[in-house]
């Protein structure tokens, strides 16, 4: 066999070996979950400063969700914000928040109104939904006040959207 023919056969074999490797979907390296983040605050014992407060045994409960209502209980680390998802099949949703479920404190209801923004992340991650909060409501049984810090709800876990003052 001429050397050039041998080289061609070798190249064809290389083609086959290379082609045997099926192309698989690349892993998704971005966060796909879009959640709204809350930080809870309380006034200092003296002066006018406000500081992060660690709620003892907080419970977050979605209202009017699909199927069984879910109850979340967190053992949060200090300064860790609360996170909750928004309803991507409606333009509003409600969450109940109870600061201390062990002590049976009163719950408050937070209502969020927003614009839904489908967002393409990548072929590996697909689509997710970003939100632009347009309005919000709160009851004040335990909550003193709520301030919106950032209306954009995205997959960025470092963004704090609301501050809840107790």
């Amino acid at each position: 066999m001429r050397p050039i023919q041998a080289a061609l056969v070798a190249l064809l074999a290389l083609v086959l070996v290379y082609s045997c490797k099926k192309e698989e979907r690349e892993p998704c390296l971005q966060p796909r979950v879009t959640e709204l983040h809350l930080r809870t605050m309380r006034r200092a014992d003296s002066g006018i400063a406000v500081i992060d407060t660690l709620l003892p045994y907080p419970l977050l409960r979605p209202l009017s969700g699909q199927g069984t209502q879910y109850v979340y209980s967190f053992g949060r680390r200090p300064n860790q914000p609360l996170s909750m998802s928004l309803n991507q099949v409606a333009d509003s949703c409600r969450w109940a928040i109870q600061p201390d479920s062990a002590a049976g404190t009163l719950s408050d209801t937070l209502t969020f109104y927003y614009t839904r923004l489908p967002r393409f992340l990548s072929n590996a991650c697909g689509y997710t939904t970003f939100y632009d909060i347009t309005d919000y409501r709160t009851t004040t049984h335990a909550i003193d006040s709520v301030i919106m810090q950032n209306p954009s709800v995205t997959n960025d876990v470092n963004v704090i959207n609301f501050r809840i003052y107790y």
Binding site: L8, V15, S19, E23, P62, L86, F120, N123, G126, T129
Partner: protein
């Protein structure tokens, strides 16, 4: 006045010396002039088909492509090349689903690295340059966003027509195994020129280019060719010999 005359004399001397040197160089060149190399005669139109792509199509579920080539021997070891083909690809996952298909054309030239030994020698080792263009059709895409609390949502993205264009460098060899039947391979480096046009739902695979999520591609072809040849040494030259 005297200074001007001296400058003029110096300039004239300089010009004279330069001319003498040029004449000497020119006469040296004439004396050492190489004999004119014999011209390579004959015309060749070659039709090629990439046999590696059907093999790869069998082994890959998600894409198909077919490539053809037509090249014509121009002169001075330069071949004018026209390549084309078509293909399709699919991206089918539970959360994202769409198909694309495209045709393509590539134009350019090949330049052989080794001169032909004679008029019947059509083996070649070459490098080449191409410009490629591919109109792409992406069908309607469907995506799903899951949510265990509020429920999943399903939506569609309308179909769209896109255009990809690129430049490529190629090199390879082609040898004549049987009279007029040739086999060869190319290695190609491709560079997408309009990457920013594909921000959302990039084609998974662009026939003629490669993976749609890459802007720089290394690829290869294995061609089987048939050559149509005509012409030869002119009768006047044969008689003179």
């Amino acid at each position: 006045m005297r200074r001007a005359r001296i400058s003029g004399l110096i300039l004239s001397l300089f010009l004279l010396l330069s001319a003498a040197g040029f004449a000497q160089t020119d006469s040296s060149k004439r004396a050492a002039k190489k004999p004119k190399e014999p011209e390579q005669y004959g015309h060749q139109l070659r039709l090629s088909f990439d046999v590696s792509k059907p093999v790869i199509n069998l082994l890959q579920d998600t894409r198909r492509s077919y490539e053809f080539a037509l090249d014509y021997y121009y002169r001075n070891e330069i071949y004018i090349v026209l390549e084309g083909g078509f293909g399709s690809a699919g991206y089918h996952y539970p959360d994202l689903n769409y198909d694309t298909r495209n045709s393509f054309v590539r134009v350019g030239f090949d330049k052989t690295l080794i001169k032909r030994v004679g008029n019947k020698d059509w083996d070649m080792a070459f490098f080449g340059l191409r410009y490629g263009l591919a109109p792409i059709r992406r069908d309607e895409a469907t995506y799903t966003i899951g949510d265990s609390i509020w429920g999943s949502s399903v939506a569609t993205i309308p179909a769209v027509n896109q255009l990809a264009h690129w430049v490529e460098l190629t090199g390879g060899i082609k040898v004549e195994l049987l009279p007029r039947f040739m086999v060869g391979w190319n290695l190609r480096g491709r560079f997408l020129m309009n990457e920013t046009s594909f921000r959302e739902l990039r084609p998974v695979y662009i026939a003629g280019f490669g993976r749609g999520d890459k802007s720089t591609i290394l690829d290869f072809n294995v061609f089987v060719s048939y050559a149509i040849r005509w012409g030869g040494k002119p009768d006047a030259i044969k008689k003179a010999e």
